[in-house]
Amino acid sequence: MQMHDAKRVEIIIEAIMERQISTALTQVGVTGFTILPVLGGSGRSGHWTREGGVGRASGMIAVICLVAPPRLDSLLKGIFPLLDEHIGVVSVSDTQVLRAERF
């Protein structure tokens, strides 16, 4: 099966930023992404869990974004301002996809 190189960007960020991150991605031309719920975690700001909570101030999401390698840089530049201010982490891995024209 013919596979093509791509980048898998995984952004773990505050749930409250969902709309902004999706706007930022769209602005740099990235329209494909998937959002996973996050149950809890730990970082420099301590442990947290989503259980029982009502507010949207705590709680995070994971945004997964598959892009063609040439578009990675503009993606990162687009989301950087949000990441800089907000709690969260980003990682970028090499991956392979079918049907490269989509990404």
Binding site: I16, G53, V54, A57, S58, E85, H86
Partner: protein, 326 residues
């Protein structure tokens, strides 16, 4: 005095408060008791809908007069003004707190906690003192102005906040305000007829749902207290108890001047005394992301909320009785 103590004891031994205490104790003992996030949200949607609807029906029954407009105006003024007091008080009691963090906290204390309001309503109903139905509208009106005040405090001190369309949407079309006011309007429009149709859902089981919800709130507050122990210094803890009393005093005064009923004065007092832990924290994460959430959430949910729930509310009812002679 003994009446106050009686009411306090009666409040402390009500199922609602004991459920909160159970949640707090379970979390502090590190029990794994927990509510799914979806259930907690479902219960809060239920409470907002029920309380909004009841307020609307009550307005439909008693008609609307200048009182509503004046009370809403008073609420907005309190919400705008309280943050300035809170800001100075916190910086005085705990000088180490940064301008940004102090402003964020201040925003919480200008705004309101709808669950504190609900608990006050339950207490008042038990005493045969109903607040004016339009206090729901006052509660909704008090949610947002405090955020504006907090951002103004930051910019006055040269800080930077991220104010934009997204923030205003977050503030004004906030799900809880929309649901509360929407249900209020529906209750107003459908009136007593509507109430008859859905009372078995929103009135009869209300207190039981409130018990379970407060159990969950106790769990969340307890987990917060446990993980934020380092953040809360004695000065900050004192703020968490003194600030609601200052808010209460101003709310009490405003209610008296407005000529509200005893229940209405008590409700406004509770609103002014309470601190937000849903709407404002969310707005602060958008507008002031560098402010420390552990500080404002722990203060508001871990200290002020339990204080109001247990000791504050009966005190406010007693004071309202005194000033209104009710």
């Amino acid at each position: 005095m003994s009446a106050i103590l009686d009411l306090a004891a009666q409040n402390l031994l009500s199922p609602v408060i004991l459920c909160f205490a159970l949640g707090l104790a379970a979390a502090l003992a590190r029990s794994d008791l927990s509510f799914p996030e979806a259930i907690a949200k479902g219960m809060s949607l239920y409470l907002l809908f029920a309380i909004g609807f009841k307020g609307g029906v009550s307005v439909a029954a008693h008609g609307v007069d200048l009182g509503l407009a004046l009370a809403v105006l008073a609420g907005i003024t309190l919400s705008l003004g309280l943050p300035f007091i809170a800001f100075s008080l916190l910086r005085t009691l705990s000088p180490g707190v940064s301008v940004l963090d102090a402003a964020a906290v201040a925003g919480h204390y200008g705004s309101i906690s709808i669950v504190t309001f609900v608990a006050m309503s339950a207490l008042l109903t038990g005493q045969g003192l109903e607040a004016e139905g339009y206090m729901i509208a006052v509660a909704a009106a008090m949610e947002a102005p405090a955020i504006v005040a907090a951002l103004w405090l930051v910019s006055r001190k040269g800080g930077e906040s991220r104010v934009g369309g997204e923030l205003w949407r977050e503030i004004l079309l906030n799900g809880s305000i929309v649901l509360l006011m929407g249900a209020f309007v529906i209750g107003w429009v459908t009136g007593e007829d509507g109430m008859v149709e859905i009372a078995p859902f929103i009135v009869t089981p209300f207190k039981g749902v409130l018990c379970l919800f407060l159990l969950d709130m106790g769990l969340v507050a307890g987990r917060g207290l446990r993980s934020a122990r380092g953040v809360i210094t004695p000065g900050i803890a004192v703020f968490g108890v003194v600030m609601p009393l200052i808010g209460a005093a101003l709310g009490l005064g405003a209610g008296f001047v407005l000529g509200l009923s005893t229940g209405g004065v008590a409700a406004l007092t509770a609103l002014a005394a309470s601190a937000s832990y849903i709407a404002v924290p969310a707005a602060m994460r958008v507008a002031l992301p560098r402010a420390n959430p552990a500080l404002y959430l722990t203060l508001s949910l871990g200290i002020t909320f339990p204080f109001n729930l247990t000791l504050g509310l009966p005190l406010y009812v007693a004071l309202a009785r005194v000033v209104t002679g009710g």
